[in-house]
């Protein structure tokens, strides 16, 4: 089934190309994108690097049967797997960064001086595990948001635009979901649905769509009363066309900013889920959780915690900074020359 994720990657990549073409074709978006790049080149480059790593870890293929290595043949492996060869690039247990002997016992290592950030309890290379976590993090934040945004837009915009019964129903659903504390609802959903990537993403989606929906509804309510919508209606434009041509482009900037902010919230909340034992396999949250007891040993084992924390911190910080800059750039009230 490994090719499912390959197809998904191709679809996402072509969607990204499509968005890029649209952005370069529209004057408003082109200018904002240029301005954003001018203000936050480093943050954008960092996010780009993460995306590249995740991409390299998403495309996998099986080597032909003639593969001589019995450990790796027959299994789909990604580019990252091929770079590190985790099947053989391991030790017996802990080893310090760049050490040449094992952390306990002092036996010589199989790969002395090769583990940049040492190895964990099971002897796995920490750099490799950290890089594998990139894909999981982007999956949690990105895929969940990509599923949630269209649904939230559909409900939010139709509630705001059509009003009356639809609005009442959507608003009630929103109030009910918003009444349950997010973390508790998330936990309840995962316990009920079971563990696993899809289940966790669904649970995050159910708790996350309310926020998007509320923003879309509020903004649509405001737009509905504007003169240009009234003009479009007077000209006999159909509802669907008004929504597509006039309302959606006018709430797009809010959607993007909310996406960036919810992305960081999702990635951070996964660490809490990992602590509770319901997180995703191979995530940074799990690495941090597993590293909990390593700090109380003497000498301290710090590299496992450091690898995951720095990777997580850098990604969240970069996205936070881009989101902030994006808000300043797009909102004309806060846009100042700086």
């Amino acid at each position: 089934m490994h090719w499912v994720s390959d197809i998904l990657v191709v679809l996402l990549a072509s969607a990204a190309v499509g968005v890029c073409r649209y952005v370069s074709g529209d004057r408003f978006w082109r200018e904002n994108a240029t301005e954003l790049w001018r203000r936050r080149p480093f943050a954008i480059a960092i996010v780009g690097a993460y995306l590249l790593i995740a991409l390299m870890d998403s495309i996998s293929w099986v080597d032909p049967a003639s593969d001589a290595n019995a450990l790796t043949s027959g299994k789909p492996r990604t580019i990252i797997d091929r770079l590190f060869v985790p099947e053989t690039f391991t030790e017996a247990s802990y080893s310090a960064p760049l050490a040449s002997v094992a952390f306990y016992g002092g036996q010589p290592l199989l790969h002395p001086g090769a583990h940049l950030l040492g190895t964990d309890l099971l002897g796995r290379d920490v750099v490799y595990r950290t890089l594998k976590g990139v894909r999981v993090a982007l999956l949690i934040g990105g895929l969940t948001s990509l599923v949630v945004i269209p649904i939230a837009l559909l409900f939010g915009v139709s509630a705001g635009y059509f009003g009356r019964r639809i609005d009442d129903a959507v608003f009630f659903a929103m109030t009910v979901l918003a009444s349950v504390p997010t973390l508790l609802l998330l936990i309840a959903l995962i316990m009920v649905l079971g563990k696993g990537t899809v289940q966790v993403c669904v649970a995050l989606g159910v708790t996350g769509w309310v926020h998007f929906c509320r923003i879309a509804r509020g903004e649509t309510l405001k737009l509905r009363e504007t003169d240009f919508i009234a003009a479009a209606r007077a000209l006999g434009v159909r509802d669907g066309t008004i929504i597509r041509r006039h309302i959606l482009p006018n709430i797009a900037h809010l959607v993007i900013i909310t996406f960036a902010l919810s992305f960081t919230a999702l990635v951070l909340s996964e660490t809490i889920l990992s602590y509770l034992g319901i997180g995703l396999d191979g995530s940074w949250g799990q690495m941090i959780d597993q590293a909990r007891n390593e700090l109380s040993r003497t000498p301290v084992i710090w590299w496992n915690l450091t690898g995951a924390s720095i990777a997580l911190f850098t990604l969240v910080l970069a996205v936070n900074m881009i989101a902030d800059a994006m808000r300043d750039v797009i909102d004309p009230r806060t846009r100042r020359e700086g």
Binding site: V176, V180, L189, I272, G277, I278, L312
Partner: protein, 326 residues
Amino acid sequence: MAAYFLRRIGYGVITLLGVLLLLFVLFFAVTDPDDIARKAVGERARPEVYAQWKTNHGYDKPLIINTGATGAGRFTDTLLAEHYRRMLTFDFGRSDADDSPISRRLREGALPSLGITVPLFVMGLVVSVAVALFVAFFRETYIDRVVLVLCMLTMSVAGLLYIIAGQYLVGQLLRWFPISGFDPNPAVVARFLALPVLVGVLSGFGADTRFYRTIFLEEIGRDYVRTARAKGCGDARVMVRHVLRNALIPILTNVVVQIPFLFTGALLLESFFGIPGLGALTVEAIQGNDFSTLRTMVYLGALLFIAGQILTDISYALADPRVRLG
């Protein structure tokens, strides 16, 4: 005014009924009660033990329609009706994991939870409002920029890492406070609570300060500030007497919502620092597949949130005459 409050409370009740429906779907319809029972008594238990457990824990009725009963019993003698009746009368029954009465555990956990959440709430509020006011006073200077960068940095660290790092640095390296534990004796309880409160304040600092700063900046741009300046008010006086007082309304609405949650405790902090509160109880329920306790906690959380919303709206109406008259 009274009509507004009544309408507001009425909508709160309807929302609560909706939450109960959501909980029913999650915990009874999606999760099979048979599964819960099997997990609790074990796969190979005798059928009568299994049936007895289901009766004791109230899982032995049909979901929505009882075909065995007659008359009104068809709809009242079901899990759905039972669920509503028990939750609305605060009859939470027994824990699925260890058979202890849930209401007793709730009573026992409330005090330790308040012990950590109240200091955390008060200190967090004071620190972030004070820093936000300070930063808003020095807006557009390097002080403002430095604090904003600090906020951004502290916001980007996972909450879990704060706890782990705090336990390591303060508890293990510096040995200022115990790493974890709790003692209800008021003379020593502060030693146990100091570290979790410190960690909690730090992890909420960035987002709160930025939020309050935005509120202050919005108020600073208003006309009354210009009027105050024009009549000769000093900068400090404008900030404290005019801006702070007017900003209290939006701050109030943000703060009142949080008050009910003080009772449900802090999930991570409690379980990490060994404080036997309601947050730790929830974590225990998650790890022990204790559905009835988790269900109760979710219900209480929602109930308190709805109460908080109503409180906010009422206090908002009392504080701001425009809402009251409008």
